[in-house]
């Protein structure tokens, strides 16, 4: 199908999700409050660390800024990585996969479109976390190299979405029909939860966990964001295991290179596995719940 038709469909999915989201007015209030309280919790923690000799090197020494950047990456990546699987499950349990397949859309578009609910929920929260931190709790940001920041944002979105696609494909490809599945569990609930360093610098972790953290895009995106956006951030000193191993490349360049590689691997792999999953389900008769 022509690309503009896919785009039209994506816009329509987004409109539908927005209508649904707006029809539950309490959502918006809860959602703002939730983000506010999350930021307050970390502001309180920052009070604990104030005056201590805790060192966030090379990410400056403002814990609130450090944490709200962690929340920013957490919110945008949570949707991209965690949402594709439940969205595919929703299409399956709702019985609509058959109907989407009867449309001329690509396999990809309905899943991407239905994900927009997560985008509405979580992307603005990432901005709100930055705003609350800045307006209420003393976070300070520098915006050196805005084009690099934009590139980093795009790369973390693509690479996490690629992993999300791999996770989603397991629904059909490996017949994981439960609430969760191993890819999402291993990445989101184990490696990322432990080693992404949303709330603490990963240098405090045991070395094996730091190495484990080398396999997720969050480590590199957070490293680069914090170096570039926290006043006093150091651009040259390597801290991540891969940066230490490849000191001939500057830390931020290495962060970008790794994110590009992760994006180039995860997205096509996720796409390939998703298509294979759908084709397998078409053979097995498991595209939708009703039979």
């Amino acid at each position: 199908m022509k690309l503009y038709k896919e785009w039209d469909a994506l816009k329509m999915f987004s409109k539908r999700e927005l209508i649904i989201w707006l029809s539950y007015k309490m959502n918006a209030i809860m959602w703002v409050l939730d983000t506010l309280f999350t930021t307050i919790i970390f502001f309180m923690l920052s009070l604990v660390t104030r005056g201590s000799d805790i060192n966030f090197f090379p990410y400056g020494n403002n814990y609130v800024t450090f944490v709200v950047l962690g929340l920013f990456v957490h919110f945008i990546s949570f949707t991209n990585l965690g949402d594709p699987f439940p969205r595919v499950a929703r299409i399956y349990w709702g019985g609509t996969m058959d109907l989407y397949l009867l449309s001329p859309l690509s396999y990809f578009t309905p899943m991407l479109g239905i994900m927009f609910r997560g985008v509405i929920d979580d992307y603005p929260r990432s901005i709100l976390a930055l705003l609350f931190g800045w307006l209420l709790f003393g976070a300070v940001f520098t915006f050196q190299s805005p084009m690099i920041l934009l590139l980093l944002l795009i790369l973390i979105l693509i690479s996490t979405f690629g992993i999300g696609m791999i996770s989603a494909s397991s629904f059909y490809l490996f017949n994981f029909k439960q609430n969760t599945e191993p890819v999402k569990f291993i990445f989101q609930d184990v490696i990322i939860a432990l080693t992404a360093g949303y709330y603490y610098p990963i240098s405090v972790l045991p070395y094996p966990l730091q190495v484990l953290g080398s396999f997720i895009p969050h480590s590199y995106a957070l490293d680069a964001f914090r170096r570039l956006m926290i006043p006093g951030g150091d651009l040259l000193t390597p801290v991540l295991p891969l940066q230490i191993a490849m000191q001939n490349i500057s830390p931020i360049s290495l962060d970008i290179i790794v994110l590009v590689i992760m994006s180039l691997v995860s997205l096509p792999l996720g796409w390939f596995m998703y298509v294979k999953g759908i084709e397998k389900a078409r053979k097995d008769g498991t595209l939708t719940r009703w039979q």
Binding site: R16, R282, D284, L287, T288
Partner: protein, 323 residues
């Protein structure tokens, strides 16, 4: 002129794996079908007979294990994507594909874009469907606030947004009250007549198949055990037509005369009635009437009783499979 075929399937097999079982469930067992363009074709069978499986294979949503076939000339294995773009489907429950957070019109707007209707056509087509299905008065209602019958109409409207030559209706009247079911049945006939769409309908309601379908395939345990027009199915059934004649002045000579006809199986009589079991009722009825009148019998009423599709269904699959 040769009848154009919409769908042809030959020797289709489909098995589903069953968890914790070595032997698979045989959903389709050597099924062959031929459906003409423009007809209403019925797939009649009880739950688990294989109706939905065969529909999904014909719609390109499920791959057969073996056999061959084509839909509108496209191979079911190699061209399933093309087939999917040429068929519409209404699932057994109207809730599939209906978003209760959107109004009736918003639901149709959503699917019009998903089905890639040109922007200029969308509004006109949605309005046409709202009018055709008599849903205009509900266009700004939530689906949950309209009747089940109207929700089913909404599902049908969605499937008709694209002008596809084939529509599959999987048990379109299941879960509907009698009035709503009547309305949907009337609609199915109109879709076929007014748009020339080939309708393939699954049902386990025998009267529905009899009322709507030009031809019916009776399915049982994954097999098609009979496929023909309702009239031919009746004709081939080894069950006799029954004729009940109310009359005066019945004589034994007259009854013997009737019994002498080769197509009469039994002939019993009482004070004012004669009951005849016979074959070829329509062709031979006049002959019987003439014979009775020849013996001075005055006929006041004639009642015929032909086997229904239900009789055929029960005969074909046995009482255990009847609904």
């Amino acid at each position: 002129m040769a009848i154009e075929k919409a769908i042809e399937l030959q020797n289709i097999f489909k098995r589903y794996k069953i968890k914790n079982s070595k032997s698979p469930f045989v959903a389709l067992d050597d099924v062959s079908l031929s459906i003409n363009k423009g007809e209403i074709f019925g797939l009649l069978g009880s739950n688990g007979a294989g109706k939905t499986t065969i529909i999904k294979i014909m719609a390109g949503l499920l791959e057969a294990d073996s056999g061959s076939g084509s839909v509108l000339g496209h191979d079911i294995y190699k061209e399933h994507k093309t087939i999917r773009s040429m068929v519409s489907l209404v699932a057994p429950t109207a809730d599939v594909g209906t978003d209760n957070n959107l109004t009736v019109r918003q639901n149709l707007e959503f699917w019009a874009v998903v089905y890639a209707l040109e922007a200029k056509q969308r509004v006109a087509r949605i309005n046409e469907m709202l009018d055709f299905l008599d849903l205009r008065q509900y266009e700004h209602h939530w689906p949950m606030s309209i009747s089940a019958g109207n929700r089913q109409k909404l599902a049908i409207a969605r499937s008709l947004l694209v002008e596809n030559p084939i529509i599959f209706l999987d048990e379109p009247t299941v879960k509907l009250d009698a009035k709503s079911a009547d309305a949907v049945r009337e609609l199915v006939g109109r879709i076929n007549r007014e748009f020339g769409i080939t309708v393939i309908l699954t049902t386990h309601y025998i009267f529905e198949a009899e009322e709507l379908c030009e031809r019916v395939a009776i399915m049982h345990k994954g097999k098609i055990i009979s496929c023909d027009t309702v009239a031919n199915l009746r004709k081939n059934l080894q069950k006799y037509d029954e004729l009940t004649i109310t009359c005066k002045d019945i004589s034994k000579e007259a009854i013997d005369g009737i019994k002498a006809f080769p197509y009469v199986i039994t002939c019993d009589y009482g004070a004012n009635t004669i009951r005849i079991q016979m074959t070829n009722l329509h062709e031979k009825l006049l002959e019987i009437i003439k014979a009775l009148r020849k013996h001075g019998i005055e006929i006041t009423e004639i009642a015929t009783n032909q086997p229904s599709l239900e009789d055929i269904y029960v005969e074909k699959i046995g009482a255990g499979g009847s609904q």
